[in-house]
Amino acid sequence: MDGLRSWRGLALWMGLILLAGASPALADGGGMISASCLKCHNDYKDKANVVGGEFQSLSNQAKSIQVEVGDRNEVIKFNDNTKVENVPALKELKKPVPVMVYFEQQGSDRVATLVKAKPVIKVPEAQQLSVQQVQELMTKSPEQGKYLLVDSRPPAHYQEGHLAGAINMPFGNMPDMMDKLPKDKSTLLVFYCGGFR
């Protein structure tokens, strides 16, 4: 009996080693967390079994979701046990919400145990400006109104379309760009990005 058990154990280990070698996730040796996630979550860099990036799409028939990580998409399965955080349900996820997907390797599949959407940042109401307030502000030039609009999104989004007169300070690069802000520290700074969900 003992001999049989150890033989089984050996076969199991060999199977695991083979599976690890065949894992498509590591095929190109690339990281599983996108560079933009790592800007704030650097501790995830070498974390195993997590994919981090922008949610792309969900297929109910394939029970899979796609997450963009750098220049490629990772496909991860989900099932009825997959938990979600910060959205009511998986099907409520909308492109391009950043997500962290915690998964288990089951055979050749990666099955999500938890899909964590990026939480909505809370800003005190007194500090928020509405569309109308921003519009009103923009009837004056930045010099006249003593204000500056700051677009916190990545450069590609800014290039595509930004509010007139806004400067681009991608959030991740902000510490190195503080000299772009006006010298007068009482200037009204209005930050905006892709909006809350």
Binding site: A22, P24, A25, A27, D28, S57, S59, Q61, A62, K63, S64, Q66, R72, N73, E74, V75, K77, G107, S108, D109, R110, I121, V123, Q127, Q128, L129, S130, V131, V134, Q135, L149, V150, S152, R153, H157, Y158, Q159, E160, G161, H162, L163, A164, M169, F171, M174, P175, M178, L181, K185, S186, T187, L188, L189, V190, F191, Y192, C193, G194, G195, F196
Partner: protein, 250 residues
């Protein structure tokens, strides 16, 4: 978050436009595109020269269509069917006040990507963007930019009809779907089983992935691409009825 960082650096009057860009465009308010963005995407967006045909003849952005500002609303019929099409309006300079009402009008037709060129034609010249003289387009023409890895419907149907030996058509639909019929020469591996069955696929052929709508085909494409296969996918609809193939009506 950005506002906190500014406060930490001593700024005393910091606000957040929390609703951001989506709310701004939803209100039909204009966004400004840089010359670099327009140049990078040239050919895959509708660039409208609002200065009129005479000015456009003197020089205009390559491929732009000349429609005078006061006529744009009357030309609604010739705008693209695709409401996600990129539309960029320009005048001599940014001319925000002049162009903003027209942007609002076009947005109200359902277009989600209507922009004003930063600096207008003068800014374009300064950025050394490509220009044309004389030959001015007066009819809107729009071509969406293909996504990486996509195959056109025409090339796909060519492969279906001619079965070239260096291509393999992979059908990633479920068994329930494929039992009603498959494309000639196609191999079926449902996308949810694909990662475990990569060994069945050849590395020396280009694998063309399709499903019923394009969504699962893209997933299949990404699984194959990450496993270093040579692959593309059809981002379009395919129906097979009584051995007849109906393709590409997305």
């Amino acid at each position: 978050m950005a506002a906190r960082l500014a406060e930490k650096n001593g700024y005393t009057n910091v606000k957040v436009f929390h609703a951001g860009v989506p709310a701004w465009t939803q209100a039909g308010l204009p966004l400004i595109s840089t010359a670099q963005f327009v140049n990078d995407r040239l050919g895959y967006l509708v660039v409208i020269d609002t200065r009129g045909e005479a000015a456009a003849k003197q020089g205009h952005i390559q491929g732009a269509v000349a429609i005078p500002l006061d006529r744009i609303v009357k030309e609604k019929e010739q705008f693209p069917v695709d409401r996600k099409a990129y539309l960029v309006l320009y005048s001599d300079h940014t001319d925000l006040d002049k162009l903003a009402p027209v942007v609002k009008q076009i947005s109200s037709w359902g277009y989600q990507r209507v922009f004003i060129l930063d600096g207008g034609y003068q800014g374009w010249l300064k950025a050394n963007g490509p220009i044309q003289k004389d030959l001015v387009r007066t009819k809107i023409f729009y071509l969406p930019r293909p996504h990486p890895g996509e195959i056109t419907g025409d090339e796909f149907m060519n492969i279906v009809n001619n079965q070239p030996p260096d291509k393999l058509i992979l059908d990633v639909r479920t068994l329930a779907e494929t039992s009603a019929g498959m494309l000639p020469g196609a191999v079926n591996i449902p996308v949810d089983a694909l990662s475990g069955r990569l060994g069945e696929l050849p590395k020396d052929k280009e694998i063309i992935v399709h499903c019923r709508t394009g969504l699962r085909a893209e997933m299949g494409y990404n699984i194959l691409r990450n496993a270093k296969f040579n692959t593309r996918f059809l981002n379009d609809k395919v129906e097979i009825l009584e051995n007849r193939v109906f393709c590409c009506f997305k």
